[in-house]
């Protein structure tokens, strides 16, 4: 997975190094620019049981700023924003790992360093009783919910 370099983003950027739970790192440049959630759409992706992206819909591609073939095959942390606390994703993995549905507000990082907020739901995909992956569907959150989540995440990062 490529870093997000200063030359990839437009505007005044801050530089962060993300460390993922598999021990890998990524340097990203982020800008304080929000891209609005597309009206009436759902942003959909699927992963294998390890969280590697296997499918994305058009809204996902559009909002992430990546091309489809830059997404499929990559770990889902390709969208990890430095302001998202690790504990939020631990909650996600613990919940779906127990076979349950997870909901949460997520700030996602685009390829161009900007961000978008979503209300995400993740469900385990069972086929014949066997786990084959996960599906995540994101919808448009309210401004108030975004502000509450942002305030909470500031205390956790």
């Amino acid at each position: 997975m490529n870093d997000i370099q200063a030359c990839d983003v437009e505007g005044e950027a801050t530089r962060h190094t993300l460390t993922f739970c598999d021990g890998s790192t990524r340097t990203v440049h982020v800008v304080d620019r929000e891209v609005p959630f597309p009206e009436g759409k759902l942003i959909v992706s699927r992963t294998d049981p390890e969280g590697i992206i296997t499918h994305v819909n058009r809204s996902f591609v559009f909002m992430s700023g990546y091309a489809e073939d830059e997404l499929v095959g990559q770990p889902h942390h390709i969208l990890r924003h430095p302001e998202m606390p690790a504990v939020a994703f631990k909650g996600l993995w613990d919940t779906v790992g127990a076979g349950e549905k997870w909901h949460g507000y997520v700030k996602n990082l685009r390829k161009d360093g900007a961000y978008y907020w979503v209300y995400a739901t993740v469900v385990p995909n069972l086929r014949g009783g066997k786990l084959v992956g996960y599906t995540s569907v994101r919808r448009k959150p309210s401004r108030r919910k975004i502000e509450e989540a942002a305030a909470l995440y500031r205390t956790l990062t």
Binding site: E39, G40, L42, R46, V122, N125, T135, R139, S142
Partner: protein
């Protein structure tokens, strides 16, 4: 004894005669006696399903999820280029320009169409509206939803997008669309009960074969469906996983 065919009660009643014609077509194709039974309400249809009385059903996506996962029904075909999308509208005379202008305490006009209601409620979430802070007014059909909006009795109303687009231009001119879903992957399914599982292939062939003759194409016109497409088990499972994230 006849097998029973039924249609999700959200079907447009102008196609009622067409469903009887499709029923005949299936009887000939399967060489068995099939009776079309129409329910005007979802709950009564679900009771009939629970009692094991429904063999063939053109199901809305919400019920399809339950029928496949819990009742062992099998999807044999999906309608071509027909997705279930939802419109949230308001009165054109009112002050509301976008969903976020709606405030807690409003009345929302809806029907008992489960997937449209679900998507409508989801599209109100950006305004912090939910079951706890809106009053629902259940209407028998979408024309009555439109009337509630035009009379100012409801601030927002939910419509099946296809039906909204078929409302008269006069009615539509009095309404304003706030948002229309563009999900593209949620659709009705034609399902076969476990008891009729052996005939699943024959039902599939009869439906997909309609587009191959003039007579068949006229049946398709009569039910307002351009054709039937194959649907894989994985397509169906994916749609149900997606529905599962929304309920």
């Amino acid at each position: 004894m006849s097998q029973i065919l039924t249609v999700s009660p959200d079907f447009n009643t102008k196609y009622l005669a067409g469903w009887f014609i499709l029923n005949n077509w299936l009887q000939h194709a399967l060489e068995t006696s099939i009776r079309l039974e129409v329910f005007d309400d979802f709950e009564r249809q679900r009771d009939a399903i629970r009692d094991g009385k429904v063999d063939l059903i053109y199901a809305n996506p919400y019920d399809a999820a339950w029928l496949v996962r819990e009742r062992g029904y099998r999807a044999v075909a999906k309608p071509r280029s027909k997705c279930d999308e939802t419109v949230v509208a308001t009165s054109a005379q009112g002050p509301v320009e976008r969903v976020e202008d709606l405030s807690p305490g409003i009345t929302v006009a809806t029907t008992d169409d489960p997937d449209v209601h679900m998507m409508g409620m989801i599209m109100l979430e950006p305004a912090d509206l939910g079951a706890a802070n809106v009053t629902l007014k259940r209407c028998e059909n979408y024309v009555l939803v439109a009337k509630e909006l035009m009379r100012g009795h409801a601030a927002a109303g939910f419509f099946l997008a296809d039906t909204y687009n078929e409302l008269s231009p006069m009615i539509r001119s009095k309404l304003r669309v706030l948002v229309e879903s563009q999900i593209n992957v949620i659709h009705h399914l034609f399902l076969v009960s476990p008891a009729m599982g052996e005939q699943a292939v024959a039902v599939h062939d009869a439906l997909t074969g309609l587009a191959q003759s003039d007579k068949g194409r006229s049946v398709l016109d009569d039910i307002g469906i351009p054709g039937w497409d194959d649907v894989s088990e994985e397509d169906v499972e994916f749609m149900i996983d997606l529905m599962d994230t929304l309920v």
